[in-house]
Symmetry: C3
Subunit: 296 residues, 3 copies
Amino acid sequence: MSIADAGGPGSLPSQTNVAPALAAAFETLRVRQEGAVLFAEIAAPPMNLLGPPLVRDLVSLIQQAETDESLKVLVFRSADPDYFIPHVDVTKIKEYREEAAKLVGEPSIGLLFRHLSASRLVSIAQIEGRVRAAGSEFVLACDMRFAARGSAIFSQPEPAFGLVPGGGGAQHLVRLMGRARALEVMLSAQDYDAELAERYGWINRALPASALGDFVKSLAHRIAKFPASGLIAVKKRANAIALAPVEDFRRDSDLFGKGSSKPEPQRRFADALKRGFQTRAGEMDLARLLGELDDN
Amino acid sequence: MSIADAGGPGSLPSQTNVAPALAAAFETLRVRQEGAVLFAEIAAPPMNLLGPPLVRDLVSLIQQAETDESLKVLVFRSADPDYFIPHVDVTKIKEYREEAAKLVGEPSIGLLFRHLSASRLVSIAQIEGRVRAAGSEFVLACDMRFAARGSAIFSQPEPAFGLVPGGGGAQHLVRLMGRARALEVMLSAQDYDAELAERYGWINRALPASALGDFVKSLAHRIAKFPASGLIAVKKRANAIALAPVEDFRRDSDLFGKGSSKPEPQRRFADALKRGFQTRAGEMDLARLLGELDDN
Amino acid sequence: MSIADAGGPGSLPSQTNVAPALAAAFETLRVRQEGAVLFAEIAAPPMNLLGPPLVRDLVSLIQQAETDESLKVLVFRSADPDYFIPHVDVTKIKEYREEAAKLVGEPSIGLLFRHLSASRLVSIAQIEGRVRAAGSEFVLACDMRFAARGSAIFSQPEPAFGLVPGGGGAQHLVRLMGRARALEVMLSAQDYDAELAERYGWINRALPASALGDFVKSLAHRIAKFPASGLIAVKKRANAIALAPVEDFRRDSDLFGKGSSKPEPQRRFADALKRGFQTRAGEMDLARLLGELDDN
């Protein structure tokens, strides 16, 4: 089966080049190639939690796309209008981290995400719905991110559980929006809409939901027309300035990994799960849920 | 006397936890504790100049609050609607610096302010009125800052006297708003309103004056519900990225301290004082006053 | 001939101090001194390309202005309402680079621009018309930049030719607007208007075209009234934080210089020239032209 066929309802065979090297079917991704652009739609019901299957598929997608010389640009979007990636599955931390290790040699999604930032491929996140915690960190790892007004919601709420962001959130947010706004975002564990996320520099731009898809598609194809050598060289120069060192990603990853098994975060995870955490309904207004967690 | 009683008209005994460790009365601060949040209102008439009494009280407040395990968040606001902190008392530079040395071991308010940024406590500035020079540097040292539209005014005007900001202003502004805007702000010695301060990243957000107090109170209490361990860990990670090293604060502090006793700054201080500098009326439009200083 | 006389129609002898040290006439610059402010208007018909004559004049201007103790502030503007500086003359890369070497000892306009940023002089760009590629890099090297709404257009499009920006564009843009927006700007090779350039931090502020000239003039004269010692000291402190090291400018310059002679960029330059590149008409909508370049 080709990558063109691996997709769901969104695939457009007439515009599609078959990429034999990208022939794997994915459990949680619908992929479609148009020229040098690969569109990957996240479809991991019921709410696109970043658990072992989605991490396994992201590893596989990145590995295959990087070795496919016909590809220059990766676009990520969601099949679920309410959830892009809400966060990791907190009941399977050990398992999803082991999936990440298959690409980066260490059980760390922070290092997996950093691998994407350092990749020769240009990555663009087209955001509708909620990106919180590792979801925020995934889009922060993409080279660019554009979000739908009235739909996209952003949060980096690990401190509500007594934890630091483990996937590079602090590294990106502090560099993008400065110390004060990054501390506000993380320490408040609040939800931010697309407009405020744009003002804070969390995303490149907030766009009308009706225009977002065409904007991203057009941008992706434009970039894909330019020589690969220049794209790669510019990414290298930008990363040398603004992509945090591996050691910092590893340190955050370790702090989250070790911290998450301690009594206080475990107690708060359990309390949250009782209140609807990791359910579609319960996370529509996660900020409120987090504010109601028992603080004793 | 308890900290609850040390406050002025704003104290609300019914919501207040008495904190025996914070029992000192302050000459220039009205403090009130609500749960894990300590509200400190600056009340140093006639205009909240940062002179020896206010520095002494800030040192004392920070020392006591840091050792009080019941506290997580400090909120600073002003009892004076026109002045939050206008700047240091330029007639008492040696004296206020010596007060700072009692906490940080060196006569430098830059190092005092940096101590606050590095503290385990989360600090929030609720800004109405003027924050200029060291006033700006104090709110920049807070972890977050929110300002009232139509009321708050910002300035970092030391170059008008031939000096660099001595309390970390350059360190924070360049990192928050980039080289060009930080140079504009400092070299122009102009006043900036809350909207422009927000666009430049000087503050987290500008809010309607009527909404500011409730917003900050709600944010402070929300953060205070989260585990201390996470708040501390996130601050550490953010500071490792974006808080300038001690040596840079010390260097700026030395440049200001040595520079301020030289003939040109002394002459310009004297000229400014004759024109109303360090008076409530004279500093309502300080930007104009600075533009009129004799440039010979 | 004095610098006052070297100017064109914009010179105002009645307000002008003659500066004997700045006596050179320029081929592509009209200069006028008002007190401690030197206004330099770029007038290099037909479209202000950065070729050998303009680089030679900029070298000469900077050299002379730096040694003239009566000057504190340099203001750059354009005599052409459509073009400030569009980019380098790609048919004379070797030649213009050799002009830069006369000031900085190495054939690199990146190092020339960095010299301006590190100069004791405060530089302000007043931008109407197009600043693309090296034009963008020139205004990024100025200490501040203000642009006319509805007129100014920004672009950093070297990747459309398979190249990295050679004059420090990546160094400045990544630090000013963060990794994601800088990558978008460079990899898309798109045009950005003044409003979006302001939101992204590319410029200090977008102003109504009718107000821009007075705003910049007033700001320049205000800064020029302040003691030189403070201006210099503040620039030094800001540069220590946010001006990229010489090695990084040199590296970008080398990547551009060596890259530009390779087959793929040469082929794309040739294709672009056939389509109107380096002509007034052809570059009114350069973004479209770049998107139409043959990608084989």
